[in-house]
């Protein structure tokens, strides 16, 4: 019997760019499609898990580790609305400790407990915070965890800079089978230069897989502690997210070439010309 393929999806990008919002919606959409979804929160803010769970007291792997020096699956694996399973790494108070080690420790727990294999998931989504600043934050890109990486960008320079850095991490982790699935443009500005993002994507030898635009309903949904896919399932934005969800599944990692990130100097030189040459 062939082993069941697990879609292992990682969303990365500059802080505040919309990763968690997109990923919680994708999780909901996948669950609505009948897929067995595990949502992995790797952000000490744990905001995405809070949204999916409609509660704020989220027990985390790190909390359990502190409390009992041991972690039991039943204490940290939560079931959200729509049957999505959630697990949250948690992390230190701001300004102390090592959040990267927290993420690495949670993934060690995944291996110890055979979480991905035993529970029959077919879709695992990793929500990481911000840029990949050190090895700890890159542990979801180790063998057996993340596979398809998507970078959320806007037309702001530093979001593209972070995307270029993340592409470097993808190159470093390529031997683990990690690929860059593409960029997701999340544009808050109605006049945002979409074509410039396309040019940037081509420099990285990747493509823009979806373009999402500002939608006030996101905010309304968040205040109701719902994802947009639950709050306004028939709206245009949710349809776009649905298209993205299907596109993500169709991507074949074996057919994707590693990206070609730029060194800093080249990035700044090309960014002056808005990546036109």
């Amino acid at each position: 019997m062939s082993k069941k393929r697990i879609e292992r999806i990682v969303f990365l990008g500059k802080g505040g760019i919309g990763k968690s919002t997109i990923l919680t919606n994708l999780s909901t959409i996948y669950a609505q499609m009948g897929r067995k979804v595990l949502f992995v929160g790797c952000d000490p803010k744990r905001d995405a898990t809070m949204l999916l769970m409609s509660r704020t007291d989220i027990p985390t792997v790190i909390d359990q580790l502190i409390r009992t020096n041991d972690v039991r699956l039943e204490d940290v694996l939560l079931e959200a609305r729509s049957g999505i399973h959630c697990i949250e790494a948690g992390g230190p108070e701001p300004g102390v400790g090592c959040a990267g080690r927290g993420i690495a420790r949670m993934l060690e727990f995944f291996t110890e407990s055979e979480l991905l294999e035993r529970n029959g998931y077919d879709t695992v989504l990793f929500d990481l915070l911000g840029d990949i600043v050190c090895g700890g934050f890159a542990t979801p890109l180790r063998k057996g965890f993340g596979e398809k990486v998507f970078i959320v960008v806007s037309d702001e320079l530093m979001s593209l800079y972070a995307a270029n850095n993340i592409a470097r991490a993808v190159v470093n982790c390529a031997p683990n089978g990690v690929v860059l699935g593409g960029l997701v443009a999340n544009l808050k500005d109605a006049k945002a230069d979409e074509r410039m993002i396309g040019r940037f994507a081509r420099k990285l030898k990747t493509r823009v897989v979806a373009t999402l635009r500002r939608d006030a309903r996101f905010r309304k949904a968040e205040y109701r502690r719902l994802t947009l896919a639950e709050h306004a399932p028939d709206c245009e934005t949710v349809k776009n997210l649905g298209k993205l969800a299907r596109k993500v599944l169709r991507i074949d990692p074996a057919r994707i070439e590693p990206p070609t990130p730029m060194d800093d100097k080249t990035f700044y030189e090309l960014s002056r010309r808005e990546f036109s040459r």
């Binding site: 502190i66 108070e93 102390v96 400790g97 420790r105 190159v171 390529a174 031997p175 070439e257 590693p258």
Partner: protein, 536 residues
């Protein structure tokens, strides 16, 4: 992965589990057709086809090399057939200083002197005495195996010179009798993730109720709290109002040096004590027979030693420091910061004669002190008496030393360092052993000049690992210098390793040093059994 240079290209043999072996050829950008070109490099592969997985690996390597130039890579990679050692590509990415800490550094096979290791751990030599000491080691318990040993009885990877002499060495002084109280915060995963400073604070709070007046708390950091950014200095500062506390940083202290502050305060508290005429205070000689002998010689010459500090930090004796007419600082590269902050600013005459290692330098050191307090004639007489007492012993040891040879392995540009006390933890090693009459086999890497032309020194060149191994095995030296504990490269060659732990200052210290070195040369254990422990 293995790297080798052939002509104008670097060849990288890559093997990954489940992927067919691949040879990547790296050359300067623009040097011809290639699969991939970065800013400075072009990448080809050997053969006619490449699989998707192999290509992914090639692109990954190209990405990791970033904007490295071909010259930067080439200079770190050996010529084909010249050197068989595999070079890890990580070394090329990392352009920092090559040290023992970098596992697999390309020159690790010929490194026998580890000054940086001593430098970064020098603070562990400072010992507070005369008071009960409670040491709080903030870090993982496992770390205790890698950091300098707590006393002469525990083992370490390096032969730290201040843990001296070893218990099994002839005439070694007894190890410290009082074992200080030792507490570890034993950082666990959760502490690393959430920060360990709170745990250190909790341990210090608990200590506040358990220590007595006069106790000294030493907080010793390990690497992990530095990596995660624990603010240990702040924890120590907060506690400092409750008693005497010292922060012993595994790295160079970035802010306040609490050891210096504690010592300075103790010295300052005795500033009203009456100054004595021909008296001196000594800094930089470890407690032991050598200090006893040197103090004795000074007393014989009518010079009173009112205090001796560093590496021993005796807060009671520190109060007598300012009773001295002259303070004597023994040159020591690892103590200079302490001298600068505590001793040199004091309103005392300061002399810093060369370190008293070996007979001639010990005499010069004593004469300089005697001159500073006007006791030269008395010192000459004391010296003569002491020399007469050990003359027969010295003659015998000189004869013994003349019959054996010591070996050193150095790069050509490092030869001079062997005779420089600043470079060798305060001991001018080469000068001392030459004075004792030992023959020296200097094994020198590279073509540069080997400037040491002392009598008895023979220079032997080597270019690679094999020729060094041949030299170590075939040369007549009985012992070879290494700072690594029980260095297997030396023992496998059938020779005995020796290190700075065997060296003692003073006249009798020189006699004991010579006796130990002769013993090391004559010991035939590794000659008989060294091949059994051979490593590859």
């Amino acid at each position: 992965m293995a790297l080798v240079r052939r002509g104008d290209a670097v060849r990288m043999n890559v093997t990954y589990e489940g992927v067919a072996p691949l040879t990547i050829i790296i050359s300067p950008a623009g040097s011809g057709p290639c699969l991939l070109e970065t800013r400075h490099l072009s990448f080809r592969y050997e053969g006619t086809t490449i699989t998707a997985q192999q290509e992914r690996i090639l692109r990954s390597i190209a990405g990791r090399l970033g904007d490295a130039t071909f010259d930067e890579i080439a200079q770190k990679v050996p010529e084909e057939d010249q050197e068989r050692g595999a070079v890890d590509p990580e070394e090329i990415v990392d352009r920092g200083v090559v040290t023992v800490e970098q596992w697999g550094a390309p020159d690790a096979w010929r490194r026998f002197v580890f000054r940086r290791e001593f430098e970064r751990n020098a603070s562990s030599a400072l010992r507070v005495t005369g008071r009960r000491v409670v040491t709080v080691s903030h870090g993982e318990s496992e770390c205790q195996y890698a950091t300098p040993a707590i006393d002469a009885r525990s083992m370490s990877l390096f032969c730290y010179p201040w843990i001296r002499p070893l218990a099994h060495v002839p005439n070694a002084p007894a190890p410290e009798r009082s074992i200080p109280s030792f507490i570890t915060t034993d950082m666990r995963d959760a502490d690393i993730i959430t920060g360990g400073a709170a745990k250190l604070d909790a341990v210090l709070d608990a200590l506040a109720d358990r220590t007595c007046e006069g106790d000294v708390v030493v907080v010793r950091s390990t690497c992990m709290p530095h990596v995660i950014g624990d603010d240990m200095q702040e924890s120590v500062r907060r506690w400092s109002g409750r008693g005497d506390i010292i922060y012993d940083d595994v790295f160079a202290p970035a802010g306040r040096d609490l050891t210096a502050e504690l010592l300075a305060a103790a010295i300052d508290s005795g500033k009203r004590r009456k100054r004595r005429g021909s008296s001196v205070a000594l800094a930089g000689i470890a407690p032991g027979p050598a200090l006893v002998e040197l103090e004795g010689l000074l007393v014989e010459a009518g010079i009173d030693v009112v205090s001796a500090l560093v590496p021993r930090i005796d807060l009671e004796r520190a109060r007598d420091w300012r009773r001295a007419a002259v303070q004597v600082l023994v040159p020591d590269p690892y103590r200079d910061a302490l001298y600068e902050s505590v001793f040199r600013p004091l309103p005392l005459e300061t002399i810093e004669p060369p370190t008293p290692h070996g007979v001639a330098d010990t005499r010069r050191w004593l004469e300089a002190i005697a001159r500073s307090v006007g006791r030269e004639a008395e010192m000459r007489r004391a010296w003569k008496r002491r020399m007469r007492r050990c003359a027969a012993e010295r003659r015998r040891l000189r004869q013994d030393a003349a019959g054996v040879r010591l070996g050193f392995v150095v790069d050509a540009d490092e030869c001079a360092a062997l005779g420089d006390p600043v470079k060798m933890a305060g001991v001018p090693v080469l000068g001392v052993v030459c004075e004792m009459g030992f023959g020296i086999d200097l094994m020198v890497y590279g073509d540069g000049p080997a400037p040491d032309d002392r009598p008895g020194v023979e220079i032997h060149r080597f270019d690679d690992r094999e020729s060094l191994q041949r030299l170590m095995r075939d040369l007549p030296c009985g012992a070879i210098y290494s700072d690594l504990y029980c260095d297997a490269r030396i023992t496998a060659a059938g020779k005995m390793p020796f290190c700075l732990q065997l060296f003692e200052p003073g006249l009798e210290g020189a006699v004991r040093t010579a006796e130990r070195l002769v013993g090391a040369c004559r010991a035939d254990f590794y000659r008989k059994y060294g091949t059994h422990g051979r490593t590859h």
